[in-house]
Point group: C2
Chain length 321, copies 2
């Protein structure tokens, strides 16, 4: 897994993002150099290796998928008015809103540039997989924004939303890597489902870390979802589990936006703790990781070739940020 | 040419843009149904017909190129804070900024969906042409925004900017149509250059119409470029042609943003008129149309097959909106 991360880092280190006009490309270079976990290109490379693919052949697809992911973060941060990403100011804060819009648009096209560099007999299928995934991610972000304004969101609604917003891109990265290596369709399907459950687990972890994570390790303020009245697995589970009076209190807290939100955050967290929500979320996360691993088990290939994904799964299941 | 427009209108009328989530797709449907001149898909279809292409084969490319164009307008209107487009409120005004950002992003992906529907032996080349054009259009928009903050923009700078922002997409549409029909490379090159000069002429007309056009016909307020201190061919030409005192007055006017800008607009227009700028712009436009026609003349194909583009060129050269 460390080898895989190193490979992705080397690919990005060798890449040149800075060109003219500087005002357009500096924010792009800034965003792509900030790093992050690089999970999607790692998944793409790992899936490709599992079927004896050629790493050089998926080099640009790996850059493409990560560039697309960073484009979505850039625009999401603007839409959500998030000031910090990966411990650094977000593009719309460091520059301005128009810069964030246009640099984001350009990053989407740059992602395409990379995907278009490598010929392949199944290129149309690969590109369609990428693009349909991109559309689902946009739809997921729309549902996420819709849910902020709705008070009747259910847990299944929420799981559908994070599937689109987060999980399909992990699944798509794996599928693309496997397609480049001409993997058999049943294995591609299992890898896709592995990615879906990995993505769901990942997003539930994010929800949990945002609420109870360690600030220093997490890289951003905790309790932000509560401050923003953002629908998360925790609040939906709590509303379901709470007795009527507590459920009403939670609803009221989630309908308020006090100037000083510290008391609100503390009270919501207290209720979560009282109801045992963190443990329930831990269980839901473990369940998604189990399902992911079952699909990985079902892939027909040498166990040694699965090792990078097994390690990645284990590392993610223990993440604290 | 009317046949061509009818064909494009039929293609769009048969298309379904509205799906779930409504909050995402309603603004897309609204934008794509507002109409507009549909020049880019017309160029694409015409170029394809010139080389005995199959209209059914480029149907989706025609939708794709227009969807991309409308995506750029949607984001440009947000960045420029333009309230009106085609006589109707822009998306960010009718809905909100986040809707404009995300619906725009989705439109870019929807453009790709259409381009990916049609297999072709030269698909990678076609898609690369589309994508590299998209990147140039983004760069053009960035230069346009940069120029608003700069006082040292020259006429060649300006021509470079409108080449990227406007002309390459017309040229790209023609090239894509020709590629689908497997046209010979020299003819593709001439069509591309035809599109470049047509696009330059088109943008210079826009500048002129914004300054001296008829409000009712143009569909938006005239003098808006002057109000916004936007660099146009007119102001750059005027600064060049004016004697020092008048040039200084123009510079000062273009550095000011009065609450009531009517007097400023009137004075700048008066100076334009005094210097004979509208006539100079008319000449520059005619010159670009001449160059465009020369490239169209040079294409090796039946004269009857060139007729739609000849008619389109003639219609555009007389446009008042």
């Amino acid at each position: 897994m460390q080898t895989l991360l190193k490979k992705v880092q080397d690919i990005f280190a060798a890449e040149q993002f800075l060109t003219e006009p500087r005002e357009l490309y500096e924010p792009i270079d800034y965003t792509l150099r900030l790093g992050g976990k690089r999970i999607r290109p790692m998944l793409l490379l790992a899936a490709n290796q599992m079927f004896h693919g050629n790493p050089e052949q998926v080099r640009h697809a790996a850059i493409g998928i990560e560039t697309f992911h960073n484009f979505t973060l850039l625009h999401d941060d603007l839409m959500d008015k998030s000031p910090i990403r990966r411990g650094q100011p977000t593009v719309y804060r460091k520059w301005d809103e128009n810069t964030a819009i246009l640099s984001g648009d350009t990053m989407f096209a740059l992602a395409w540039r990379h995907f278009l560099l490598q010929p392949h007999t199944r290129l149309q299928e690969i590109l369609t997989c990428f693009n349909e995934t991109a559309i689902l991610v946009c739809e997921g972000q729309q549902y996420d924004m819709n849910f902020e304004r709705r008070s009747d969101v259910t847990l299944p609604d929420y799981m559908m939303m994070i599937r689109l917003k987060t999980a399909v891109l992990l699944a798509g990265a794996l599928k693309i890597g496997a397609l480049y290596a001409n993997a058999p369709q049943p294995d591609i399907d299992h890898l896709y489902q592995y990615g879906i459950h990995l993505g769901l687990a990942f997003q539930l972890q994010d929800d949990l870390l945002d609420s109870i994570g360690d600030v220093a390790q997490f890289g951003k303020q905790t309790g932000q979802d509560i401050r923003d009245n953002k629908k998360t697995y925790l609040i939906l589970r709590a509303l379901q589990a709470a007795p009527p009076n507590l459920s009403r209190e939670l609803s009221d807290l989630y309908a308020s936006t006090p100037t000083n939100s510290d008391a609100k955050v503390a009270r919501v967290q207290q209720i979560y703790s009282q109801l045992g929500i963190p443990q329930m979320v831990e269980e839901a996360i473990a369940d998604q990781f189990d399902k992911a691993v079952q699909h990985l088990d079902a892939v027909h290939t040498d166990e040694t070739l699965k090792r990078p994904l097994r390690e990645l799964t284990a590392t993610l299941s223990e993440r604290k940020k």
